[in-house]
Amino acid sequence: MDSVMWSRLLTAETLGFHIIWATIGVGVPVFISLAEGWGIYKKDPHYILMAKRWTRGFVITVAVGVVTGTCIGLMLSMLWPQFMKLVGNVISLPLFLETFAFFFEAIFLGIYLYTWDRFKNPVYHWLTSIPVILGSTLSAVFITTVNAFMNTPAGVKYNPVTGKISDIDPIAAMFNPSTPSQVAHVVSSAYLTCGFLLGGIAAYHLLKNRNHDYYKKALRLTMSVGFILAILTLVAGDISGKFLAKHQPAKLAAAEWHFETQTKAPLIFGGVLDEETLEVKYGIRIPYALSILAHNTPHGKVIGLNDIPKDQWPPLYIHYLFDMMVAIGFYLIIVSGLFVWNWIRKRGNEWNKWILRAIVLGAPLSFVAIETGWIYAEVGRQPWIITGMMRVKDAATTAQHVDTMFVLFTTLYIALTLISIAVLIRLFRNKTPENELHHMQFPVREG
């Protein structure tokens, strides 16, 4: 394999690994802050303990997120120097701002961690969680605008003859057409995933017959917020679909195996593609659905792949990734919806074992959806690194030994995964919330 392929693999591996921790980094502070705020408001130590325990685990994951984020930041220049030479100047503003946001988060995370007992009024401590959320979410926002620029470059003039860009408008480049839909989808799905991660942990303990109120409260909090987030993620996804139909038809068409440009376009779910004849077998066809997804009307005209030069087709396997992401999204809506329904209507058993099991399963699934959705979004842009401007093969480093780097970093990521899991398990195994509550000196409200 050549440097281009190794560079692609190493970048994909690093980002794929990073987004697991980055997602936790963006979403978990929201739930920590919600728990602490609610606990202070209700004077309920269960929620305060929840915030404390979540924070304890969070720090470990943040560390891995920080170091892998530094890796991908530097790799951008080391593996894709030609890309940076071309647009380094354009994407530097959001990269710079992202670092600021991260800085802000880093400072207040340090403060948040070490001031639990420093203030007389606990509200002050809770207030320091707000900059943590702001910092982590804003860094996700800024970095997503960079990715959005690669999907739909704007704010620059590109001269295909000289291969140079001019007339840079920093703000227009940052707020390019992809930015709103991508940012909405990234942020809402990261929050949602963390809701299921934390909810899954609580559900797991309830399934193990540990029926302490602590777990029940944690599950109610994460699932009720999670349900709202699941709906928001669906809306953001729908907006993204319409956006793709308009601005990146190749990506949508490849994801849907949609070849003939037509109105009343059906949506295909699953199935197997014959790459020679381009015929789909065994797929579920939903009439009009693709037109509705793309344009909100069954008569919407959806551009098919046949209208796009074949050397600009993305790989067609992204169909499966897209379907998986969407299916998991609906699964999360249904599971959290069922739980909330049982709770509010007081019908059936709120702690139904099957729903609890479904919530536990939802935790890893939501991470699978993050990964598949991300791979779909990135591979769907192939063969371009910047749509219409630069192809991936022209952007990679000419240096040798990328394969050595790949082996080194693969080893590092495997080690970090194993060790951090071991550390997290050890951190919580002998320190159950039941024990910790026993040592807290507060009156406990039952409920």
């Binding site: 720090v59 470990i60 943040v62 560390a63 891995v64 920080v66 170091v67 892998t68 530094t70 890796c71 930041g73 530097l74 790799m75 220049s77 080391m78 593996l79 894709w80 120097p81 940076m84 030479k85 380094g88 100047n89 530097s92 503003l93 990269l95 710079f96 992202e98 670092t99 600021f100 991260f102 800085f103 802000f104 880093a106 400072i107 340090g110 403060i111 961690l113 070490y114 001031t115 007992d117 420093r118 900059p131 001019s166 840079i168 920093p170 703000i171 480093t397 240096a399 030994h401 990328v402 050595t404 780097m405 080194l408 970090l416 060790i419 951090s420 550390v423 050890r426 951190l427 002998n430």
Partner: protein, 338 residues
């Protein structure tokens, strides 16, 4: 002041910030591990932990800030250094990753592990060594531009006496800066035992630091005479640096005003660092990249400067708050956090 000069000044300042704050961190990791080996951990580890825990993440950001800013202001540097530094940069990244995550594993995990501490301490010495090679490379002679692209001569780097003198300087100054800061911190905590131990470390490492600086001077005069000559033109800065060194060592020797001593340590490095950087101009990579050639778009340059100022307005109060809570809070430093 022209845009490229503002840009490089801002970036150089961030690199200086990283130099100081990371040195404290790297050195502390090493002292932590060393004291564990010599069974003195009970004396200084508390002091080190209390300082490092709330700030370790901030340290990392200074570095990220520097390279993101460098690529932003001067995208050409990404092309040259990016292509050339795949292996050394990759190794530095690997070390940074191990160090960052193992800090958290060791300090927020369930128990202290000797292996974690070992990795944390050792990587703290290798990282400054590997990062300092970038400064060496910037002097020219290690990267060559041919028709096939950019070539990095790793063999020349490994056999260059100049390169080794820079590595040596990086190592000893890390230990010296770190020990002099921690001495001050221990003094604030009224922890006399820790203070005395750290003070001997600081004095012990002050000699090699000056020796290494002289070696670097000698190395640069042979490797890049042009740069050496422009350094001689502003030789007063290096004299000032040496005077600050004398004051700092004197104060520590006399056990007086450790805070002031540390400020003089910072001045010592500031004079030398800015003097070195100023004399290096206009080159970012000798002789291929100058600050004028690398800056390609002024709209973006100004946008970055504005973003930078806005960011500082946000950061300075937050950093101040962080220091108020953890550095200059006598109760916290002494470990009476309630």
């Amino acid at each position: 002041m022209s845009l490229e000069l503002i840009g490089i000044t801002v970036l150089w300042t961030f690199l200086f910030g990283y130099l100081i704050i990371a040195s404290i961190d790297f050195g502390a990791g090493f002292f932590s591990y060393y004291s564990m080996l010599t069974q003195k951990e009970h004396i200084i580890n508390q002091i080190i932990d209390r300082y490092l825990s709330p700030v370790w993440e901030v340290t990392n950001v200074f570095l990220v800030f520097f390279f993101v800013g460098l690529v932003g202001f001067f995208p050409d540097t990404a092309y040259y250094y990016g292509t050339a530094l795949l292996i050394p940069g990759g190794v530095a990244l690997l070390l940074l990753s191990i160090r960052g995550s193992f800090y958290a594993f060791a300090n927020y995990g369930a128990r202290k592990s000797r292996i974690y501490m070992f990795l944390y301490g050792l990587t703290g010495l290798f990282i400054p060594a590997s990062l300092s090679t970038v400064l060496t490379i910037s002097e020219g002679g290690f990267i060559e531009k041919t028709n096939q692209g950019i070539h990095f001569h790793a063999d020349r780097l490994f056999t260059s006496p100049y390169s080794w003198s820079v590595v040596f300087l990086a190592l000893v100054s890390v230990l010296y800066i770190s020990a002099s800061f921690l001495t001050y911190y221990a003094d604030k905590a009224q922890d006399t035992k820790a203070r005395e131990l750290l003070r001997t470390y600081a004095l012990w490492w002050s000699g090699p630091t000056i020796l290494a600086s002289l070696l670097v001077f000698w190395g640069i005069s042979r490797h890049n005479p042009a740069h050496f000559h422009s350094m001689l033109n502003i030789s007063w800065m290096f004299v000032a640096s040496f005077l600050c060194f004398l004051v700092a060592v004197f104060l520590m020797w006399k056990k007086r005003a450790f805070g002031v001593a540390f400020i003089f340590v910072m001045f010592q490095f500031a004079f030398a660092f800015y003097g070195y950087g100023y004399a290096h101009l206009p080159y970012l990579l000798y002789p291929y990249v100058t600050i004028q050639s690398a800056l390609t778009n002024s709209t973006m340059g100004w946008a970055l400067v504005i973003a930078f100022i806005a960011g500082l307005l946000l950061l300075i109060p937050s950093l101040y708050l962080l220091m108020r809570l953890f550095l200059f809070n006598a109760k916290y430093v002494r470990g009476q956090s309630k």
